[in-house]
């Protein structure tokens, strides 16, 4: 792995060396390194590109890292990763994709991640998307996340895309059983001519299920963002979604929320706000000695923290 690839790995997975626990590092379409543990198995798929990650019931405080790096310009791949999280397990999964494109062809990674979260299992899933490179080719990432949370299960998803991805369609769908909980935090920043579309669909089918979906985004320069969220309350459940965007320069942002209750005890809330940085926020930080540009950077980085 060269320096650029190592930097990408640090950027997307906070990895500076080979991680502890289970991991699968994918580089330019091939498995670079893999490790399994007594409780976590990683099995390559026979019929398509991708892996099955099988976490034994009751596994506690273990982690799985599955970063993907594309440094070869023009590479297009679709990868299917399926996670089977056993009953009562408590694990952290760190995914992420970094593209370094210095050529003229588009590099494209479509990761389709399916999570089967077992009864009373708890998962923290962190994914970061990052791109760089000085070529004319575009960095394209289309992550799809499919989530099924069984009774009493809990899944927390942190998804971040801050830099360098030219075009992205991020689709997440979830089905929640009784007393299942889903928490999603999305952080997104686009600049230049970038286009980012986010699409969430959550079906709360079980009694006592809940979802909390929070998206914060910053759209700069000429970039365009579309946020869609569909939350269906099909039983006694609670759903909350919040989409908060800072718009700058000549960017455009659309927020299209939809909440539907099919049950009298479904309680659903959506909040959406789009606006520029408030003038008084800039002035306050300037009275502390920051320049206008420094103030803007602080406000944006705090907002996306």
């Amino acid at each position: 792995m060269n320096t650029i690839e190592k930097n990408m790995l640090a950027e997307i997975a906070d990895l500076h060396e080979i991680p502890e626990g289970a991991y699968n590092i994918r580089r330019n379409g091939e498995a670079e390194a893999r490790n399994t543990t007594a409780n976590i198995d990683i099995v390559p798929k026979a019929d398509e590109d991708g892996i099955d990650i099988i976490i034994a019931p009751g596994t506690k405080r273990e982690s799985v890292h599955i970063p993907v790096i594309l440094s070869q310009s023009g590479l297009t791949e679709t990868v299917y990763n399926d996670f089977f999280i056993g009953e009562g397990a408590d694990v952290t999964i760190i995914a992420g994709c970094g593209i370094y494109n210095c050529g003229d062809d588009n590099s494209e990674h479509s990761g389709i991640h399916t999570f089967h979260v077992g009864k009373n299992a708890k998962v923290r899933y962190v994914e970061k998307h990052y791109g760089e490179g000085d070529g004319n080719g575009q960095n394209v990432m289309n992550p799809t996340t499919v989530i099924e949370v069984d009774e009493g299960g809990y899944m927390e998803m942190e998804t971040t895309q801050i830099k360098g991805v030219d075009s992205t369609l991020r689709k997440t769908s979830a089905v929640l059983a009784a007393d299942a909980t889903l928490v999603i935090h999305e952080k997104l920043m686009t600049h230049g001519q970038q286009i980012a579309e986010t699409d969430f669909t959550v079906d709360m089918n079980g009694a006592g299920s809940s979802v909390n979906l929070v998206s914060r985004s910053v759209a700069r320069e000429e970039s365009q963002q579309v946020f869609r969220s569909v939350i269906n309350g099909n039983n006694a459940c609670t759903g909350h979604s919040e989409c908060d965007a800072i718009i700058m320069d000549s960017a455009s942002v659309a927020a299209i929320p939809e909440i539907t209750a099919h049950h009298v005890d479904a309680s659903l809330i959506h909040e959406a706000a789009i606006g520029k940085i408030a003038g008084e926020q800039l002035i306050k930080l300037m009275t502390l000695g920051l320049t206008e540009q420094e103030a803007e950077e602080q406000i944006v980085s705090g907002f996306l923290k």
């Binding site: 306050k284 009275t287 000695g289 602080q298 705090g302």
Partner: protein, 240 residues
């Protein structure tokens, strides 16, 4: 030392010239100066002109003899002017610690940041990592705003009605904060206030009304006149 020379501020209001400040001349070198007077008299405008948020229509502002009239908010802040807003600003994502650190202008330890919060009567451990967002009450925000000014420790600190929006119980503590600041500060405090207890600790009181300095002097010279002027509403007394 702050000098205001012939400061005027005119705004256009529906085609009309409205004089908010008329030829203000003041030299401030006392440790604790209170600006008071009726609402709409021009006090906040004057503070914002000193901080560089508004640009005066005419006149000059000198800080320690240097003309700062043409300097930006940032440049004035760096020269040693701090300004506590009447309505503190909320920030999604920035924490109390972030703002105190920015105010101090250097990396400070958690215990330093906690020290500033303790000075304004906040239990630091509960606040240091909280976001400056809608979850904080108006009174808490005011205290954090004051803690930021203490962290800056500049030669001129402007406070725009620090008591506004603070409940009666917190108000007593706030007075103590200012009494303490009065004894400790290395520069000048200029505070806009309507509160007798704040005016009581001022070295000098300036009354601004209708955009002009109406009276100016020591506490003993100005305060009795102010308290005596608080008579009943003339409309009501005429009716009697």
């Amino acid at each position: 030392m702050l000098e205001l020379q012939n400061i005027s501020y005119v705004v256009e209001d529906g085609g009309n010239h409205k004089e908010i400040l008329k030829n203000i001349n003041l030299t401030i070198d006392q440790r604790f100066v209170a600006l008071t007077g009726p609402n709409g008299g021009g006090k906040s405008t004057l503070a914002k002109i000193i901080a560089g948020i508004y640009v005066p229509t005419s006149g000059r502002i000198l800080l320690d003899g240097e003309d700062i009239t043409g300097l930006s908010i940032t440049e004035r802040a760096r020269k040693g002017i701090s300004f506590a807003f009447q309505q503190p600003v909320r920030f999604k994502g920035l924490t109390v610690r972030d703002l105190i650190t920015l105010a101090a202008g250097r990396n400070i330890s958690v215990s330093d940041a906690c020290g500033y919060l303790s000075e304004v009567g906040l239990c630091a451990r509960d606040y240091i990592n909280r976001e400056i967002d809608a979850s904080l009450s108006g009174g808490e925000l005011k205290r954090i705003e004051i803690a930021m000014i203490i962290a800056r420790g500049t030669k001129l600190s402007l406070f725009d009605e620090p008591e506004a929006g603070i409940d009666l119980w917190s108000f007593g503590n706030l007075i103590q904060v200012f009494e303490k600041l009065h004894t400790r500060i290395n520069g000048s405090i200029m505070i806009i206030s309507h509160q007798e207890r704040i005016l009581n600790i001022a070295d000098r009181i300036i009354v601004i009304a209708n955009g002009q300095v109406q009276s100016d002097g020591t506490r003993d010279e100005v305060l009795p006149g102010l308290l005596g002027a608080a008579t009943a509403c003339p409309v009501l007394t005429d009716k009697l």
